[in-house]
Symmetry: C2
Subunit: 365 residues, 2 copies
């Protein structure tokens, strides 16, 4: 592994990790039921509540990457035959539908053009069209760089009586996430985006209403590993009991990353992401590069940039990585070959990193 050198991670995640977080990963491993570890778990839960802006008791990191968070939210709430509506405008909406279908749900997908947001009027009609158990949407579509108006959709979902399931993988820490304000019922994220922790954990939060649905299931969750009713026996209460062995050192890293974020302040972090984004857009303009997404719903932390005609997009990415130690991302699905995805996530979202990328891009184009 000697070939591993510092790389500026400006793709769709993972993002760069602060030294404080890297150092936390190497703290001595202790037992998963060690009283000192229980304290760390409780602090992680408390900090996650602050970052998610929620008072939900059930707010924990799942022992898997972001997609395990998605899986956890759906598998705990769905029983076969349940109706689910996915408001889809990118890869992660498609994935939600796939996850839910595999669990035996009746899934309706309301599709919106990739690169544009979920249109609230049309979503409202879909939400009202029948009684859904779950309405699901992605806050920050990492595949396209689009921000969906989770806050405008919220009252529509709440009024419909459905559970509101939100993907906050890429938004958490970089954009306001307001779980209680949205009255969201199940929200998941990942550590390797705007939290600037290596990939490996998926913070999730469940509302009391979602917990009641979980408690009232007619059959067991068909996934022992992700069954929240079992996980709570380890993560909650005065007496903790073994479920699975928690990924101790990764949780040290998350603890440090959350501390760093809250020390900086959520609003300061959001502003930093926005400023780095605006600076990037300006600098790219000087290179003649345009963003793929309309300013009204652009994400700050994931910038979809239109590949200019005649440019071999893959070669540019490869040379950025090999010659300049900078990673940016490719387009996915119908956007493959058409866009680059430039991440400004967490610790990476700083002006000096934008400068370094733009200089390198300028030399290559």
């Amino acid at each position: 592994m000697n070939a591993i050198k510092d790389t500026l991670l400006m793709g769709p995640g993972p993002s760069n990790v602060r030294d404080s977080v890297a150092n936390a990963l190497t703290l001595p491993t202790i037992g998963h039921l060690d009283p000192r570890f229980i304290v760390i778990m409780d602090e992680v839960k408390a900090m996650l509540r602050s970052v998610f802006r929620t008072t939900n008791d059930l707010t924990i990191p799942i022992s898997g990457t972001g997609s395990a968070g998605m899986e956890a939210c759906f598998v705990n709430l769905i029983e076969p035959g349940d109706s689910v509506l996915v408001l889809e405008n990118g890869v992660f909406g498609v994935r939600m539908a796939d996850v839910a279908e595999r669990l035996g749900a009746q899934v309706d997908v309301e599709e919106f053009e990739w690169g544009t947001p979920v249109v609230v009027d049309r979503a409202a009609k879909a939400i009202a069209s029948k009684p859904y158990k779950i309405v699901a949407v992605v806050h920050a579509e990492t595949s396209t760089g689009v921000r969906n108006s989770v806050e405008e959709l919220a009252p529509l979902v709440v009024e419909s009586g459905a559970l509101y399931l939100v993907d906050a993988v890429t938004s958490l820490g970089g954009l306001p996430v307001d779980v209680d304000g949205w009255q969201a019922d199940a929200v998941y994220s990942g550590t390797q985006k705007c939290l600037s922790c290596p990939p490996g954990l998926a913070p999730v939060t469940f509302s009391d209403r979602a917990r009641e649905v979980l408690a009232a299931r007619s059959r067991k969750v068909p996934n022992w590993y992700l069954d929240l009713s079992l996980l709570t026996s380890y993560w909650e209460g005065a007496k903790r009991s073994y479920h699975h062995t928690a990924p101790i050192n990764m949780i040290y890293g998350l603890h440090q990353a959350l501390s760093d974020l809250l020390d900086e302040g959520l609003q300061v972090s959001h502003d930093r992401h926005q400023e780095a984004h605006e600076y990037l857009v300006d600098q790219l303009k000087n290179l003649g590069l345009e963003l793929f997404v309309d300013p009204a719903y652009r994400l700050p932390m994931l910038n979809a940039v239109t590949v200019p005609g005649g440019v071999d997009e893959a070669e540019i990415r490869q040379r950025l990585l090999s010659d300049h130690a900078i990673e940016i991302g490719a387009g996915l699905g119908p956007l493959a070959g058409k866009i680059w995805r430039i991440g400004l996530m967490g610790h990476t979202a700083r002006r000096e990193n934008v400068d370094r990328l733009v200089t390198a891009l300028g030399a290559l184009l």
Copy 2:
């Protein structure tokens, strides 16, 4: 997290981590599709094949802890209504049955007394009693300290036509695991036992026969995150495509842990575990302590020790941890209060650690 100090981990896992592995965790995070990371993935697969003693192509670490490996093996092979036989003599056999039942399998459990092994004659009758799709057994029952004769059961399962599913969480690296010799079809392990890597990954290996069963499924795997037919698009082939974001830094740690183990040599590691175990048994005898399990099927890496009458077992464990920075484990289920579980796993399995524990135990008893 300032309270985290070096602790001698002599419980049921996690075990102590070598400095080399701790240092590997802090290597710079790079992208999950970075060509340098693909090389590391390929090296991890190759080293896992050596450690599992298999030529199985599909040999990868699952992005979750050991129980996610169990979940992955069952969820990829089971379709609703499939018949599964679990040969059960401890917590992890019980867990296997629970996992399989949640997936809609018809599960038969052949129970054996906790603290004793699966009896081959009785297992043979159960295996032959009807055509099972899967027969599952735990190699090293961490809950009791018993070694099951996976090798003697192997021809019976093979002859029956069932898939042979083996839990090697606690055995891998500390006892001979011979996946190809056993003709085992699905085997999983964890990183935090005899591999001496922090918890967070679950190495699994699937035989070609198991892959054929997976490929011939009539419905999709009801777990997107653990679907091996999707994971292989990321872990195999000339062109890798994104599935989920791999836990990059944990995989650095596993890479280093496997390198260290293979540098030492599998046989040398097995011998070291056995020697540390025999030394522990001798030293405990001097304190008047006896092992709960018969020598014929004792595990070297997990020593179930009978708590002497009149001793408050929980207090001893707590004082070992608080006063001597040594963790040992409690009994589970029917063995709670009756045994201590003393681990000698991976880097921990050394004579000086036994001395430290025995001195501390002697002072407390």
